[in-house]
C-alpha cells in the first residue's frame, strides 16, 4: 500500500485538530424516519412510526397565522383556534379535550404568527379517537354566531388573565412596529380588542372558507402504530371531500430591508403598566429563517447572549449590571428580529449602562472573528438542543408538521442540526457586519 495515499487523510486530521476538537467528527443523530403523501383533497400527510413506547401523537397545522391578517382584522387567527374547540358534527363544545383527557391523553393548540397548530398526545390505543376528532373539526366545524361570540369572550378573558398580567407582554410587538413597515410583520397574535369587537360572523365564515381547508393543512402522526392501518383510517376520516380548494391569497410580507430604518422610528419608550423592573431592548432586522444567513445569525446570537457565560451575559449579568439578559433570533417565515434585551437591577436603575454594554459587544463582534472555543461551545449546545427536541412523540410530530408548513420540508429537522454545526467564524463575522448596523436597529426602553 502506498503510504502517500494516507497523506491527504493525515492532513485533514491535523487540520481538524488545529482548529479544535469541535470540528472532529461528532456522531450524527439518528434521523427521524417518515413517509409523506397527499390525499386527493390536497391534505398533506406525514407518518413516522416509532415503537419504543406505547404512545402516539397527532398534529394538524393549518397554514394560517397572524401574518395572514389585514389591517382592522387582527386576532381572527387566534379566535379560530378557540372556535375549533366549540364543537363539530359529532363533538360538543369543549368535548374534544374531555374525550382526549379521559382517554389518558392531552390536547392543546397554539396560534403562531406563521401558522395555527392543534395536537394531541395519547396512549397508542386512542389513535383512532384522535384522528376522528381532528377530522370532525376539519370537515364539520360548528361555525355558528353563538360559538363565534363565545370564542370572542374566551379570547377577551385570555387577554385579561394572561396578557394583562405580564408587564413586558407588548414589547416584542412594539419592536416589530418600529422596525417594520409591512403590517404582516408587525402586529400581535392576540389582536386588538377593538378589531375583535367589530369582527363579524361573516368575517369568520370567510376566514374559515379561505384557510381551514384540507389543502391548506398538514396532518402528521408519530409513535406506536402500524402505517398500513393508519393509512386506511386516514383515508376513511380525511379523504371525504373531493378536490383541493383554491389556494389562499399569498402573504406579501416584503420589507425594504436594504433601506435604513427612519431615525424617528429608531427610538421609543414604553411605560410598563405594572410595577416591574426596567427593561432595555435593541432589535435588528434579519431575514426569514429559511434564508442562508439564518444559521450563522443563530450562532451569532448564541455567542452573544445565550446564558451568563455568553459575551453579554458576562458583561451585564456577571458584573451585576443586569438581573438577566438575552440575545435571541426569532425564527419566522418572513422578515424578523434579532433582539437584545436585559433587565435592570433595581427599579430606578438607568438603562444607559446596559445600552452601552450591548453596544460594546456589538462593536467587538463586528471587528474580530469569534474564537474556536466559543464555536465549540455553541456547537455542543446546539447538538444537545437537537437531541432534546427529539425526546417525545409530540415534539417529533410537531416538528415534522411545522417544517412542512414553514419550509415545505419535513426533513428539515434531520438536516438542520448539521447546517448549524457547519457555521464558521467567518460566517458569523460576515452576518454580524451585515446585520448589526446602526441603521438596521430599533431601541426601546421600558420602565
Amino acid at each position: 500500500m502506498n503510504p502517500f495515499r494516507l497523506l491527504p487523510l493525515l492532513i485533514i486530521f491535523l487540520l481538524l485538530n488545529a482548529v479544535g476538537r469541535a470540528d472532529a467528527k461528532v456522531p450524527a443523530l439518528k434521523a427521524v424516519q417518515f413517509q409523506q403523501y397527499r390525499l386527493p383533497n390536497g391534505l398533506r400527510v406525514i407518518l413516522s412510526p416509532d415503537h419504543s413506547l406505547p404512545v402516539a401523537s397527532v398534529c394538524v397545522i393549518y397554514d394560517v397565522g397572524a401574518r395572514n391578517e389585514t389591517i382592522g382584522h387582527t386576532g381572527l387567527a387566534n379566535l379560530f383556534e378557540h372556535l375549533m374547540f366549540e364543537g363539530s358534527a359529532h363533538v360538543q363544545s369543549g368535548q374534544h379535550s374531555q374525550l382526549i383527557q379521559c382517554a389518558g391523553g392531552y390536547s392543546d393548540s397554539m396560534t403562531h404568527a406563521d401558522y395555527t397548530k392543534y395536537y394531541e398526545e395519547f396512549p397508542r390505543e386512542q389513535l383512532k379517537l384522535a384522528l376522528f376528532l381532528e377530522a370532525d373539526r376539519m370537515f364539520s366545524l360548528r361555525l355558528t354566531e353563538d360559538n363565534f361570540s363565545k370564542a370572542r369572550e374566551i379570547v377577551n378573558a385570555e387577554r385579561r388573565e394572561k396578557h394583562d398580567l405580564n408587564a413586558y407582554d407588548s414589547t416584542l410587538v412594539k419592536l416589530q412596529q418600529m422596525a417594520f413597515t409591512n403590517f404582516a410583520n408587525s402586529h400581535s397574535v392576540i389582536g386588538t380588542s377593538e378589531d375583535l369587537e367589530k369582527a363579524t360572523f361573516e368575517d369568520a365564515k370567510r376566514f374559515h372558507a379561505t384557510y381551514y381547508t384540507p389543502s391548506n393543512a398538514v396532518l402528521a402522526v408519530t409513535g406506536d402504530f402500524d402505517p398500513a392501518q393508519i393509512k386506511t383510517l386516514i383515508a376513511q376520516y380525511f379523504a371525504s371531500k373531493g378536490l383541493p380548494s383554491a389556494p389562499p391569497p399569498r402573504v406579501d410580507n416584503a420589507e425594504p430591508m436594504d433601506s435604513p430604518i427612519p431615525p424617528e422610528k429608531q427610538q421609543a419608550e414604553l411605560r410598563l403598566t405594572r410595577n416591574a423592573l426596567p427593561y432595555y431592548y435593541l432589535a435588528f432586522r434579519i431575514p426569514p429563517e429559511s434564508h442562508p444567513d439564518f444559521p450563522a445569525i443563530v450562532i451569532l446570537s448564541d455567542i452573544l447572549g445565550d446564558g451568563n457565560i455568553s459575551r453579554c451575559g458576562k458583561r451585564l449579568v456577571e458584573s451585576g449590571m443586569a438581573t438577566q439578559e438575552n440575545v435571541r433570533s426569532y425564527g419566522r417565515r418572513g422578515p424578523t428580529l434579532l433582539v437584545f434585551s436585559a433587565q435592570a437591577v433595581g427599579r430606578d436603575a438607568s438603562l444607559k449602562e446596559i445600552a452601552a454594554g450591548f453596544a460594546a459587544e456589538i462593536r467587538q463582534i463586528r471587528q474580530q472573528p469569534v474564537t474556536a472555543r466559543e464555536l465549540a461551545r455553541i456547537r455542543n449546545e446546539e447538538r444537545l438542543s437537537a437531541v432534546r427536541s427529539l425526546r417525545t412523540v409530540f415534539l417529533r410530530c410537531s416538528s415534522l408538521a411545522t417544517n412542512e408548513i414553514c419550509f415545505h420540508d419535513p426533513n428539515w429537522m434531520n438536516t438542520h442540526p448539521a447546517v448549524l454545526q457547519a457555521v464558521t467564524a467567518a460566517d458569523v463575522l460576515r452576518v454580524a457586519r451585515k446585520y448589526l448596523t446602526a441603521t438596521n436597529c430599533v431601541e426601546l426602553s421600558a420602565r
Partner: protein, 503 residues
C-alpha cells in the same frame, strides 16, 4: 426557588398557548398489568349535515407500560445512587440531591443562599472557570432549593457524562464561597425580590405559614432584609453540615451503563466524607396540624387586577401515608385536569371564571399543601368560596360515580405512560419513594395503586382533609371591598401585598 444559569433557548415566537394546558401530574408511571378499566363513552347523539363516520370511536382502556427497572447501589460513605437506563437518545440527566432545604436552617435564607453559591467557585476552579468549563459541554448545572432539599441538576450529551459528574462532584465536595461572589449573589437576589410575584404564589406563601404554624415547614422564603444580613459564615457552616453523602442521593437517567457509571461515581464521590451527626428531623418536631381549628380567612390586600384571587387551602398528605393515592384521584375529580367539578360549576354553570382548579403536592414524610382556586370578579367572591366549599363537602358525602372515577384514573394513568418519554421524570418517582423511606414496590406498583382507589377511599380522604377547621380561605384583592364579604366566613387576618401580617 430555582435558578438556571442558562437562559432561554432561541425558539419560534410562540405568543399564545391554547385553551387547554398540558397538566402532567408529577410522578406517575403506568403498568402493563392491564388495568382493565371499562370503556368510557361520551358520545353525544347528534345528527349532522356532514357525516364522516356514524359515531365517535369508543375510548379504549389504557393499558400502560412495564416499568423500567431502577438500578441502585450505595457507596461506603452512604451516598445512594439510583440509575434509570434509557438508550434511545444520547443524553443524560444527573441530579445530586442533598438534605439541605429550608427546614434545616436556623438563620433564614441560609439554605437557599448555600445552594445558590455552589456554582460560585471551588477549591480548584473559580466561578468563571467552572461556568466556562461546563458551558463548553453545551450545558449548565442548575441549582434549586425548597423546603426539604437542595438539588444540583444537569442534562447533557451522554458522551460528556464523566466530565459532568466531575463538575457536580467538585461543587458538592469543594465549594469555597468566595466573599466577592457571595456579596454579588446577595445583591442580585435582593434585586430579584421586587420582581413581579403572582397572586397565586403570594397566596400560597401566606398559606404555608398559616398552615404549618411554628414548625420549620412554615418558614417563609427569606425576605430581602434577611438575605442582606446573611453572613458568609452561616452559609459555610450549613454547607459543612448538610452537604454530606449520608442522606444524599445521586439520581441518573439516560444513556448510561450502570456498571461504568458506578466506576465513575466511586472515583469522584467515593472520597466524600460522611458527617456523623446528620439525620432528618423527627416527626415529633412538627406540629403538622397547624394552629387553626376554626375557619380562618387570610386577606392579602393587593388590587392586582380587576379580578380577585380566591383560594381554599389545607394541609395534604405525605408520600409515606396511606392517603396519597386516594387524594390524587380525589383531587383529579374535584379540580384537576381540564374537566372537573370545580370547572364545571364555576365556569360552565356560573360563568364566573376561566380558571378554576385544584392541585396538591406531597412531601417526603410530612404533609404538603392542597389548594383549590379561582380568579373571579369581586361581586362573585362569596359565591365562589361557597361553591368550592360545597364541592369539597360533596366529595366527602357522596360516592363518586364509577364513570367519573374511571375517567379520572384513565387520565392519571395515561399521564404516567407519557412520563416515560422523559426518563428523569420517571426516576423522580423512585427518588421520592426513596426519600420517604418507602419500599421499592411503591415505585413499581405506582399505577396499580392509582387503579386500586375506590369511591369509599375518596369519601374517606375528602371527609378527613377537607374538614372546615383545617381549611384556610386565602384571598388576594382589594381589602376595602373584600372585608365586608369575607368577615362572615371566619376569623379574618389581614396581610399586605408582600405577604406580611397587618395588625
Amino acid at each position: 426557588v430555582t435558578s438556571t444559569v442558562k437562559t432561554n433557548r432561541r425558539s419560534r415566537v410562540a405568543l399564545l398557548a391554547g385553551a387547554v394546558g398540558l397538566a402532567i401530574v408529577g410522578g406517575i408511571v403506568a403498568f402493563r398489568s392491564s388495568i382493565q378499566t371499562k370503556l368510557v363513552d361520551l358520545r353525544t347523539p347528534r345528527s349532522s349535515a356532514v357525516p364522516i363516520d356514524p359515531q365517535i370511536p369508543r375510548v379504549e382502556s389504557v393499558s400502560g407500560v412495564s416499568f423500567p427497572p431502577v438500578h441502585r447501589f450505595r457507596l461506603k460513605n452512604g451516598l445512594r445512587v439510583m440509575v434509570l437506563e434509557d438508550h434511545r437518545l444520547p443524553r443524560i440527566t444527573m441530579r445530586l440531591i442533598f438534605p439541605a432545604g429550608r427546614i434545616y436552617e436556623s438563620v433564614p435564607g441560609t439554605a437557599e443562599m448555600t445552594a445558590a453559591m455552589l456554582d460560585q467557585g471551588t477549591e480548584t476552579r473559580r466561578a468563571e472557570q467552572l461556568a466556562d468549563s461546563i458551558a463548553q459541554l453545551g450545558t449548565s448545572i442548575s441549582w434549586s432549593s425548597n423546603q426539604e432539599t437542595a438539588t444540583l441538576s444537569v442534562t447533557g450529551l451522554s458522551e460528556h457524562t464523566s466530565d459532568l459528574l466531575l463538575f457536580l462532584s467538585d461543587m458538592a465536595l469543594h465549594s469555597r464561597f468566595p466573599t466577592d461572589r457571595f456579596e454579588l449573589k446577595k445583591r442580585l437576589r435582593v434585586a430579584n425580590d421586587i420582581t413581579f410575584q403572582g397572586a397565586s404564589s403570594l397566596a400560597q406563601s401566606v398559606a404555608v405559614r398559616a398552615l404549618y404554624g411554628k414548625n420549620p415547614y412554615g418558614f417563609f422564603p427569606p425576605t430581602a432584609g434577611q438575605i442582606q444580613s446573611l453572613q458568609q459564615a452561616d452559609v459555610i457552616a450549613f454547607y459543612d453540615h448538610h452537604y454530606r453523602p449520608n442522606e444524599a442521593i445521586l439520581a441518573v437517567a439516560g444513556d448510561i451503563d450502570t456498571r461504568s457509571l458506578q466506576k465513575m461515581v466511586e472515583g469522584d464521590l467515593g472520597k466524600w466524607t460522611p458527617s456523623p451527626q446528620i439525620s432528618l428531623p423527627s416527626p415529633a418536631q412538627f406540629n403538622t396540624e397547624g394552629g387553626a381549628n376554626a375557619p380562618q380567612v387570610d386577606l392579602i390586600d393587593w388590587a392586582y387586577d380587576k379580578q380577585v384571587y380566591v383560594s381554599l387551602q389545607c394541609l395534604s398528605v405525605s408520600y409515606a401515608g396511606p392517603d396519597f393515592f386516594p387524594l390524587m384521584v380525589a383531587n383529579r375529580i374535584l379540580g384537576g385536569g381540564s374537566t372537573n367539578r370545580l370547572r364545571e360549576d364555576l365556569r360552565e354553570n356560573r360563568g364566573f371564571t376561566y380558571s378554576a382548579s385544584s392541585d396538591f403536592y406531597a412531601l417526603s414524610r410530612y404533609p404538603g399543601i392542597w389548594h383549590a382556586s379561582a380568579t373571579v370578579p369581586v361581586e362573585n367572591v362569596e359565591m365562589t368560596v361557597r361553591d368550592i366549599r360545597t364541592q369539597m363537602d360533596r366529595l366527602g358525602r357522596e360516592p363518586v360515580s364509577s364513570e367519573e372515577l374511571m375517567r379520572a384514573k384513565n387520565d392519571l394513568i395515561g399521564n404516567s405512560v407519557r412520563l416515560l418519554e422523559n426518563p428523569e421524570d420517571a426516576l423522580n418517582i423512585a427518588v421520592n419513594a426513596q426519600k420517604a423511606g418507602l419500599p421499592e414496590s411503591v415505585y413499581e406498583n405506582y399505577t396499580k395503586q392509582i387503579a386500586a382507589v375506590t369511591p369509599a377511599d375518596i369519601q374517606r380522604v375528602a371527609a378527613k382533609y377537607f374538614q372546615p377547621g383545617r381549611v384556610h380561605i386565602v384571598v388576594v384583592g382589594p381589602r376595602d371591598k373584600l372585608e365586608p364579604v369575607l368577615t362572615p366566613l371566619g376569623t379574618l387576618h389581614n396581610f399586605n401585598k408582600s405577604g406580611m401580617p397587618m395588625f
